[in-house]
């Protein structure tokens, strides 16, 4: 075979067996119209083969259609499950909110009656303030950190994630800012509307900065409640902030802060109840379970 494989494939579209059979017939001298019985048998065979071919096509078509249909069904069922589950979650969260409010008002009513109770209430208010359990509003400082803009020659698909790209805000940068703000006397801090509690963590996972395991995205706005003047003057004085500012300058990152008259910070995520203890010992006191998996 002199021709290449591709030539053979392109030239020999008809099965050579047909030509071979025709030649054989001619050589044997059989008439091109074979005997009647023989012809009948051949026709039946051909018809049967065509039935098989049709069956194959129909079954394959049906199968493919059913497969996509089934996938759609499963998808719809999953979406339904998700919606149902998030509806349940919403209901539970609303009920939790309601019960919490009920507990708070009952507690307030009971404690407000006595002076000891009043004292405890004041303590509680302070603790709640410190635990970021209540939303706060007031003047403060708004620090903005943002990634450097991607330069024009940078590949937007593959080139953004490499280590040489220094113009990205990292968890450490946010930690420096937050710590400096605490040190400068901030009373409450939130990042992109996510309030920082005493147990909040600022971490880095892949490309995203996580605050309390919830991702926050560029640009990062750190709001701090406090006296804007002292806050800003003390904030600049922190040496880490100066270092961060120079880093931001050299990497073309955005790093600025402004004094704001009105900042409102939401409450942090409700703290989990981990340990509960009955105050008055008694035989029927039910021991509260610690939160499972807390």
């Amino acid at each position: 075979m002199g021709a290449s494989l591709l030539d053979a494939v392109l030239a020999e579209t008809l099965d050579p067996a047909y030509a071979q059979a025709a030649r054989d017939r001619a050589a044997q001298g059989t008439p091109s119209r074979p005997a009647r019985a023989h012809r009948m048998r051949g026709q039946v065979l051909v018809a049967l083969t065509m039935v098989v071919a049709g069956l194959l096509v129909a079954v394959t078509y049906h199968h493919a259609a059913m497969k996509s249909h089934g996938r759609e069904q499963i998808r719809a069922a999953l979406i339904g499950d998700i919606q149902k589950a998030s509806g349940v979650t919403d209901d539970l969260a609303a009920e939790l909110e309601r019960l919490r409010a009920q507990v708070a008002s009952t507690r307030e009513k009971l404690l407000a009656a006595t002076s000891v109770g009043q004292q405890a209430l004041d303590q509680l208010a302070g603790a709640e303030q410190g635990a970021a359990a209540v939303p706060v509003t007031g003047p403060g400082l708004l620090v903005t950190l943002a990634n450097a803009k991607a330069s024009a020659d940078q590949d937007p698909v593959g080139g953004a994630a490499d280590a040489s790209n220094g113009g990205q805000v990292r968890d450490g940068d946010l930690q420096v800012v937050v710590n400096a703000l605490w040190a400068a006397g901030a009373e409450a801090i939130s990042i992109n509307g996510q309030r920082l509690g005493p147990t909040s963590a600022i971490r880095f996972a892949g490309e995203a900065v996580l605050v309390d395991f919830r991702p926050v995205t560029n640009p990062y706005e750190v709001s701090a409640i406090g006296d804007p003047k002292t806050l800003s003057s003390r904030f600049i004085a922190v040496p880490e902030v100066a270092a961060l500012a120079s880093v931001a300058l050299s990497f073309d990152m955005r790093f600025d802060f402004a004094q704001e008259d009105e900042l409102s910070l939401p409450a942090a995520g409700t703290p989990e109840l981990r340990v509960a203890r009955a105050d008055t010992p008694g035989p029927a006191t039910p021991a509260a379970d610690p939160t499972p998996g807390g």
């Binding site: 579209t13 059979a21 065509m50 194959l56 049906h62």
Partner: protein, 110 residues
Amino acid sequence: MIPIIGLAAGVLLGLFFDPTVPLWLQPYLPIAVVAALDAVFGGFRARLDGIFDARVFVISFVSNVVVAALIVFLGDQLGVGAQLSTAVVVVLGIRIFGNAAAIRRHVFRA
């Protein structure tokens, strides 16, 4: 005429009875269909060429389907199933195109 009736009957049978295909056979159905199409087009062209032979047609049909499925099966076992089925589809596709062109020449004289 009879082959076309047979084909239609097969399609109707398949659509009405919807036979269940064993799971291990399902990946080879599409490739088997392409192989069957190749055999059918080849047979049609041979008929127009005046050299049709029932024996050759049946044998080429069966062997086409079986070999195509076998190649894909082998490829699956070797981890190159997708590539091999692509190769089978390309080769059979070229043949189907060639035969369809020949049929067109016969039918429309163009």
